[in-house]
């Protein structure tokens, strides 16, 4: 008994000590300034130096929280209980959040740096007039491949993934819209198709890719491709850039039939308690120098034209990650198809996955 009590006392003492440590550290880093904002973002998706710079310049303390999926993030914002002033969801999530009244309109007057954004990325169908969102990073969906493992084979079209030489070589991303979309695209159908016949055709074709599929995974694909674990992957351009950063053999293409164009965007959730600070933060992130530094750190493509001017020309002239307008015109942005249709996509995807076992 004595031993139990002693152990309990030690634990409580250690916890108390740690709590003191936390409050000490928090006090020493806290800015004395006016108020704070809470930024809700993916992990490692901003240069931490920029946060410090913003705190310095604007005298606003930034509380940084992270999420790992759009859906989980939305659930938290919808349920309330905590206030976020900035969040960075993908474009399809924005439509959903708009429907559910989870967004506050953005006052363009307070964001003079908006002019830095390439007009091509403004006024997109998911948010006409950028009433609620400002693009943060953008990219495409395509095929990452390692020619050294494939005897020099290259890729141009989605159909190349069905090639019999690729047995057990292809990694797919664990996401229904991307995989079904690949099937749709390969027939030239829209990524936003809701036609049951088209979807059926796409799924039937996908079943034939089964023998080529090595695995259906998520973000780990970066690790796998770097390690030459697999030769080909259906993936996002951001991940492809991460792969190439380590393994220079890897290449990335956007298939000729077309593909998806995606955006991550800054928004102000309806739970915001410091709307003014949120605007200041958005404006800060759109500053040319800041955006350039951030793009450099994160490694994704920035929609900020003024920042592109400042960046390494070799990076921004890379057509794979900064595709020309001509290529971009072949790309489609996901539309919010509604939960029912999303359910259909997911059922088909599940069917596809079960079929592979």
């Amino acid at each position: 008994m004595k031993e139990l009590i002693r152990a309990a006392i030690v634990l409580i003492a250690v916890s108390a000590l740690l709590m003191y440590g936390v409050s000490f550290l928090e006090r020493s880093t806290a800015k004395s300034g006016s108020g704070s904002i809470t930024v809700y973002n993916w992990g490692e998706y901003i240069d931490p130096e920029l946060i410090a710079q913003f705190e310095e310049e604007h005298n606003i303390r930034v509380i940084y929280e992270t999420f790992d999926s759009n859906e989980a993030m939305m659930t938290k914002i919808e349920q309330g209980g905590t206030s976020y002033d900035i969040a960075v969801p993908s474009e399809y999530a924005i439509e959903k959040m708009k429907e559910n009244d989870l967004l506050l309109p953005i006052d363009h007057e307070l964001i003079p740096n908006l002019q830095n954004i390439d007009p091509y990325f403004l006024d997109l169908p998911f948010d006409p007039g950028n009433e609620y969102s400002i693009p943060y990073f953008w990219g495409t969906v395509g095929i990452a491949f390692n020619p050294t493992l494939l005897e020099g084979q290259t890729f141009e079209s989605w159909d190349d993934l069905w090639n019999h030489t690729l047995e057990q070589e292809v990694i797919l991303v664990d996401s229904a819209r991307e995989v079904i979309g690949m099937g749709l695209n390969s027939f030239g159908y829209s990524l936003n198709s809701t036609d049951p016949a088209e979807l059926r055709e796409a799924t039937d074709k996908l079943k034939e890719i089964g023998p080529n599929v090595k695995a259906i995974i998520g973000d780990e694909v970066v690790e796998m491709m770097r390690n030459e674990e697999a030769a080909v992957a259906l993936t996002w351009s951001g991940h492809a850039a991460d792969m190439m950063w380590i393994n220079e053999d890897i290449d990335y293409i956007i298939p000729e039939e077309g593909s998806n164009l995606w955006f991550d965007n800054m928004i102000i959730p309806s739970t915001s308690t410091n709307v003014e600070g949120a605007h200041a933060f958005i404006n800060f992130m759109l500053d040319a120098d800041v955006a350039a530094q951030n793009a450099d750190y994160v490694g994704y493509a920035t929609p900020n034209a003024a920042a592109v001017e400042l960046m390494d020309p070799e990076v921004v002239s890379d057509e794979r990650f900064y595709p020309s307008e001509e290529i971009r015109d072949r790309l489609e942005v996901y539309e919010n198809l509604g939960l029912e249709m999303l359910g259909v996509y997911n059922e088909l995807f599940l069917e596809f996955k079960m079929d592979m076992q």
Binding site: S69, A72, I216, M224, N227, L342, G343, N346, E351, M354
Partner: protein, 274 residues
Amino acid sequence: MKATQGRPFYLIPYYLWIALFVIAPIALIAYFSFFDLSGNFTLDNYKNFFTSVYLQMTLSSFWYAFLITLFSILIAYPTAYWLTKTKHKQLWLLLIIIPSWINLLLKTYAFIGIFGLYGPANNFLETIGIGRLQILFTDFSFIFVAVYIFIPFMILPIFNSLDKLNPALVDASRDLGASPWTTFRRVIFPLTTGGVKSGIQAVFIPALSLFMITRLIAGNKVITLGTAIEQQFLVTQNWGMGSTIAVFLILFMFIIMILTGQKEKGGSANGKTR
């Protein structure tokens, strides 16, 4: 027994916990399971569960959970047994638990590296002349990593039940001429079934709802009910269907509990309490 007379006030926190954090969530889950995507009352979710997709998934969940539990016991029992015979056994036991305090996602990434085509495991196979094999995305790697995750939960209870085993019993058995195997089978093992049962509960039940490593290690070539619930809640946002699967998981768990439940045995707690 006098100890149970009067009000067991010390039980208040526990029952409060059951009421708030067990009953309330179950009620919520049961409630959600009767609604479709647009919030209308429906029984479709239950109907859907009895389609081949989900039945197949249930079967495969049970199959893998069974394998994981089986291998956990096979590996944990000798480990626990020999650990009780080491000099600093309490320390060694702690050393079994410490690896589980390092973040699971990180360890999973490490396994991806270790099992990779050019990772240490394959380098070893190459050196001993077997050659490189595809280890990742196989049933082997999936069960291996799952057992890795769950093994402390099996070793601990078995260790505890072995540890307080009366050595006199073992000696007696040996003195009576029983072979070591007979001693184990007739004396040691029957006396440690309580620990093994605990271990099974702590492994089999959570293994049914395993999800993350089905994707990371098995590349979605294993799909369990846990994965499906995860998808329904987070991707499809069909909380109704997700809850329905969870209702079935909980039902399965009840069935397992009844099957492995403590039987009324002679010297057990109940018999002598009066």
